[in-house]
Symmetry: C2
Subunit: 441 residues, 2 copies
């Protein structure tokens, strides 16, 4: 499925919901991301962000406003799994229908008539994790991250020999994928011995970190023993969100040989509440990262002719830090790094094709992380590990505070935005987490 | 919760279902494992194995035969998750009630009166995966396996420096956990380059293997940010099954640095259909594996005073192989190795305590694998990798066939049994899978 630019992307299209027409809104009518929300009076249900409001999909379906291929049953849950199971074509049709409904100029049309039933202020809602994540996989597709982190964690082998052949990944913990709001508790665990031959240290993580990633959600999927061909892979990706792969670096270093990261990651993974559809992102597709001299051509099952035009996505990513001291002094969060989704060595389609080449089954609502998206420049290093050279070069904040890793009370916020001339900007909202102190032993 | 021997373990107790009284039955009335079954006329639902029959829990509940703390809702699904969510005490009470119901000598009692409604021949049923596995974790707790496999896969570091401190584990793929019946398709993938500097090979796995493990299922669980103390860990384990961690060794060797196994495992994991409860296994608890000179004492959060009496479980494990040629010649499967669950360096309780020490949440129905359970002797090496020294020492079968790894048509069957004088033997049924040829490229 090639990215397709159509009338839903028209910058001239405006919504009857005024806040969606603010050029600074993350959620103009050209976006229409899916999420799950609840209000004080209603249970958690699927919705669509529009400006500073949420359009209630379940209520809209009950009123007969949605296309016929969207059954009420697909909206009956507190997660988007059943909706995502419908597949990309019905979801594309739904997005088109929503674009028409929410742009109605005529005040006699149903979405405006029924507005009090259908539209809820986001500020009065609680946002939830978009899907019941049954399977979460985290890739390692950011080559600048792999090089930088590799040089620090495994200096003898910074970029593994397999890196340019294999889209490396590991299974993550699904149960602790959380919506990126509220707090994350500092984990406790075994840490490397202070001297060789001594017992490991044990206690609260002292090298708590974030990793800036994108996540994407599966629609459709495959059955065990079958695979998804690279040419078909985009049909199985419904959309993207921001993803924070919180990491306990000291725990990671000690535990990860030989089977990979486990407790150093499984305490929490945060995702932003809104799933920005692949359809909304169509205008922002760019060529996949160029293979340089010496980089091998991907193997056949990973070769996609479309990569040269649309394998990548141009998404500006930013990370902000707010400390307790900053908040108590009334200071706002400070931007600590910026990056772009262009810096992914492997495309989302390649990740899907690789994930299923062995017959592993993907299921609707599965979450796939891209891996940390660092860029080539110093200000594009997308974790504290990289930014501070594992603590050797602490970051100094404007108020004079210094950070090697995250302190209790630190709040990390990710933001993402797509911009292109003659197109409305598409935002991702935010993915936030504030570190709270470790549970006593 | 200490293992408790009570009247349900009494060897004198007999069932009115004759086949359960056969001393060779895996499922005497002292066992009563949980599973999910369906018949040609009914949907998949929870049941209990008794001799060669299945006792229908949903029907029994409808007839008011089960304890009051087992609500109909807990039996309303095609998985045991909701039943397991009730926790160990209600499940222990349920087992006691079933033991009484199924032992009724008096033909006027309800379970016999209603037998035609409640009891179905296993041979006429289809068995399903016991739980909807939302999370699957695989440990590496068999120290003889770690040593033997480590010597072959990472000879420079056969037993990692962290092994005797950290119960090493990785997240497995939940979606491809299958009931151990039927076929497993040979996976395709990238394999190590034939010469350094050459591209990797790509195609059907040539080193397909099994790994003999136990799996256990979570009841209860914990919320994110909290942990399960070692003293409480057994309360969160409902029971055990056989688990085959199918492994593509060539894919594994190429992909696993630095983040661990991924596609080499995610094509399939098989579990036996019946969950043998921890309560049924009480008479077979034995001291945990002895720590030898030089082995450190476990850290506090992994220290359990009960380990010295009941940390281990004495389960005889056997692996059988049947090839196409053997079947076409009318020969039965041949036993290729035998081991015992005593050979686990870390106890299931230690795995639960470690898994949650960082605040990672376990959920009812989660599956935890122990890792391959090899023993110290040659015939106790519990994978083809170990048994054949990575193919250097092929196994010769009685009919003259040789195997380094698994061939298409090979069927692997695991069996497990607990035996102790003056107690009824408790069997695990079987976990089976036959290899079929790879999906064409």
């Amino acid at each position: 499925m090639n990215p397709m630019i159509d009338e839903t992307h028209d910058i001239a299209r405006r919504s009857f919901i005024d806040s969606a027409n603010d050029p600074d809104s993350d959620f103009p009518i050209q976006n229409l991301p899916f999420g799950v929300f609840s209000t004080s009076t209603g249970e958690a249900r699927p919705g669509v962000a529009i400006g500073d409001q949420i359009f209630d999909l379940r209520a809209a379906c009950r009123h007969g406003l949605l296309p016929k291929d969207i059954p009420q049953e697909a909206l009956a849950y507190d997660s988007l799994n059943a909706l995502f199971a419908l597949g990309r074509i019905p979801l594309r049709n739904l997005r088109r229908a929503l674009s028409a409904l929410l742009s109605e100029a005529d005040s006699g049309k149903p979405a405006r008539q029924l507005a009090s039933d259908l539209i809820v202020p986001m500020a009065e809602s609680r946002l939830h994790r978009p899907t019941r994540v049954a399977n979460y996989t985290d890739f390692y597709a950011g080559i600048y991250h792999a090089r930088a982190a590799g040089a620090l964690l495994t200096p003898e082998n910074p970029l593994p020999a397999n890196y340019r052949w294999v889209p490396i990944a590991y299974h993550g913990r699904a149960s602790s994928v959380l919506v990126g709001q509220g707090t994350v508790r500092r984990p406790v665990g075994q840490k490397p011995p202070s001297h060789a031959g001594r017992p490991p240290d044990f206690g609260a993580c002292e090298r708590l970190d974030f990793e800036l990633e994108l996540g994407f959600y599966v629609t459709g999927g495959n059955t065990v023993g079958n695979r998804i061909a690279i040419q078909d892979a985009e049909n199985h990706i419904v959309g993207f969100s921001l993803l924070n792969d919180w990491s306990a670096r000291d725990v990671q270093r000690w535990e990860m040989f030989p089977l990979g990261p486990f407790l150093s990651k499984s305490f929490a993974t945060s995702v932003s509440p809104w799933v920005v559809t692949a359809d909304a992102l169509a205008p922002f597709r760019v060529p996949a990262m160029e293979r340089l001299n010496g980089d091998p051509k991907p193997l056949g099952y990973l070769h996609d002719a479309d990569d040269q035009t649309a394998g990548g996505i141009d998404i500006d990513l930013k990370v902000f830090l707010s400390t307790s001291q900053m908040r108590s002094q009334g200071e706002g969060a400070v931007e600590i790094l910026t990056s772009n989704a262009r810096h992914l060595y492997w495309t989302p389609a390649q990740m899907v094709a690789h994930h299923t080449v062995n017959g592993c089954n993907l299921q609707p609502g599965d979450l796939i992380g891209t891996g940390t998206i660092s860029g080539p420049r110093d200000e594009e290093l997308s974790s504290m590990l990289e930014l501070t050279a594992a603590g050797a070069r602490p970051v100094t904040l404007p108020n004079g505070e210094r950070r090697s890793f995250l302190a209790d009370g630190d709040e990390i916020t990710f933001k993402g935005c797509c911009r292109r001339q003659n197109f409305a900007s598409i935002g991702f909202g935010s993915c936030t987490g504030m570190i709270t102190e470790a549970l006593p032993l």
